[in-house]
């Protein structure tokens, strides 16, 4: 299975830092104008390159996720945990045992709100991602049905946050999960969610539709 190249990850890491500087720095406007011009040229160049067709594979793997080996689009390019996606903080997810996973993340200043704390939406997104890893043991694609997060205290930026997720119960094609979010000072949030098994046929249809749109240039 093809992996994302190391330089894509390096670029993602650099863009992550650039995003932080885009929010935290306060130089003269000319600096940003000049930078924007350079970046716009770079974007033009990259747009001439072929589009990435998503590779999908659900197979017995050795990547620590159990039955299902994720394609790189699901892991390396995830907007939450992907090292090759500049939007990702990134969250590091580890599956501890069957039906449980732990994520750790240090949120950068670029996801800070006006109050100075991490945007609660990013905490919710990270919880959703950990649940995805928890459910990897099922070996089938799943989709979030309900995500319910209770915030107990503000979440600090630039400090390690730990998210533990687990399966509470399973009933037919529906799985109920729970999670706890903590920092050194104590709990930040509790969450529970409901996930539905999508089925590989449906997942493949999404995949085909996505690639058709890419080929059509939309």
């Amino acid at each position: 299975m093809e992996k994302s190249g190391p330089q894509r990850r390096r670029l993602a890491a650099a863009l992550r830092l650039l995003s932080v500087e885009g929010v935290n720095s306060d130089g003269p406007k000319e600096v940003y104008a000049e930078a924007a011009e350079m970046l716009e040229e770079v974007v033009k160049g990259l747009r001439k390159e072929p589009r990435r067709m998503r590779r999908v594979g659900f197979r017995q793997g050795k990547d620590g996720f159990g039955k299902r080996e994720f394609d790189f689009g699901m892991v390396d390019l995830s907007p939450v945990s992907g090292l090759a996606n500049p939007l990702a903080p990134p969250l590091r997810v580890q599956r501890n045992e069957e039906k449980r996973a732990t994520g750790t993340v240090v949120y950068p200043g670029s996801v800070r709100t006006g109050t100075g704390w991490v945007h609660h939406g990013y905490v919710a997104a990270s919880v959703d991602e950990v649940f995805g890893a928890v459910l990897a043991w099922m070996g089938q694609p799943i989709m979030t049905g309900i995500l319910d997060v209770r915030f107990l205290r503000p979440c600090p930026v630039e400090e390690e946050v730990r998210i533990d997720g687990w399966v509470r119960r399973e009933s037919g094609g529906v799985v109920f999960t729970e999670a706890r979010v903590e920092v050194a000072e104590g709990p930040v949030a509790e969450a529970h969610a409901v996930f539905f098994i999508v089925g590989e046929d449906q997942y493949k249809r999404f995949e085909e539709q996505r690639n058709r749109k890419l080929v059509a240039g939309c």
Binding site: P6, Q7, R8, R10, L11, A12, L15, L18, S19, E21, G22, N24, S25, D26, K29, V31, Y32, A35, A36, M38, L39, V42, V43, L46, R47, E49, R51, R52, P79, A84, N85, P86, L87, S110, T113, T115, G116, W117, H119, H120, G121, Y122, A124, A125, V127, D128, E129, G145, I146, L147, D148, V149, R150, F151, P154, V198, F206, E207, R210, K213
Partner: protein, 221 residues
């Protein structure tokens, strides 16, 4: 920063810069360039980071941006931070999709946004976590229409149908209830006529002192 920066030029260039970074983030995920090209781009971006790191730090009070669209008379808000540099709505934050938000009436906000391919979860679909994040943003701004500043206490999102990428999504948020220090806001997200998700959030209004304490560690309050 002392005093207010020159508003128009400041925000125009910051927004343009953020948009360029945003597009580059999207291309990093969307294109299939050879590693050598990614290396060249990474070299240039790293050099740019070094340059910006040498600039002064931005304090919390900066020019506001969208108050022409939302004027809440909030004595405690710095709109620039809430909106322009927000990681969801902010035109000046490269991570933001971003969101265009307008006030429809005294209890209702309407927003539009497009998730690029960088937000992909399932194939061709927006990551459910970012859908939740968009609700947190919109409902958080919606609750502030009451004139109070609250923090999210509870957020519940029900996903009704897959959320497409590269498609305009329309969101609505409305103040549902205000009782003591609790404000409840509800909202929906549609792709054309199709309901993608609905959400409800409960916000806890902060006392002035608590708000000041929470924000003071980040610079000028």
């Amino acid at each position: 920063m002392s005093g207010k920066p020159e508003r128009d030029g400041f925000l125009t260039e910051r927004r343009r810069f953020a948009q360029a970074v945003r597009e580059l983030c999207a291309e990093t995920v969307a294109c299939d360039a050879p590693d050598e090209l990614f290396r060249e781009v990474a070299d240039r971006v790293e050099a740019l980071v070094e340059k910006l790191v040498a600039e002064p730090r931005r304090f919390r009070t900066v020019a506001s941006s969208l108050d022409e669209e939302i004027r809440m008379e909030g004595r405690r808000y710095h709109y620039g931070d809430l909106l322009d540099f927000s990681p969801l709505a902010g035109l000046a934050n490269p991570l933001a999709p971003p969101m265009s938000i307008r006030k429809e009436d005294d209890t209702k906000l309407v927003a539009t946004l497009v998730f690029s391919g960088a937000f992909e979860g399932g194939p061709g679909l927006a990551h459910g976590g970012y859908v939740a994040a968009a609700f947190d943003e919109l409902l958080g701004l919606t609750q502030s229409l009451t004139g109070e500043a609250g923090m999210t206490g509870k957020l519940k999102v029900r996903y009704r149908s897959p959320c497409p990428l590269n498609t305009e999504l329309r969101m609505e948020g409305r103040v549902h209830q205000k009782e003591g220090r609790k404000i409840v806001a509800r909202g929906t997200m549609h792709a054309e006529d199709r309901l993608v998700a609905d959400g409800e959030a409960t916000f806890v209004v902060l006392e002035d002192e608590v708000y000041r304490e929470k924000t003071s560690r980040f610079g000028e309050a």
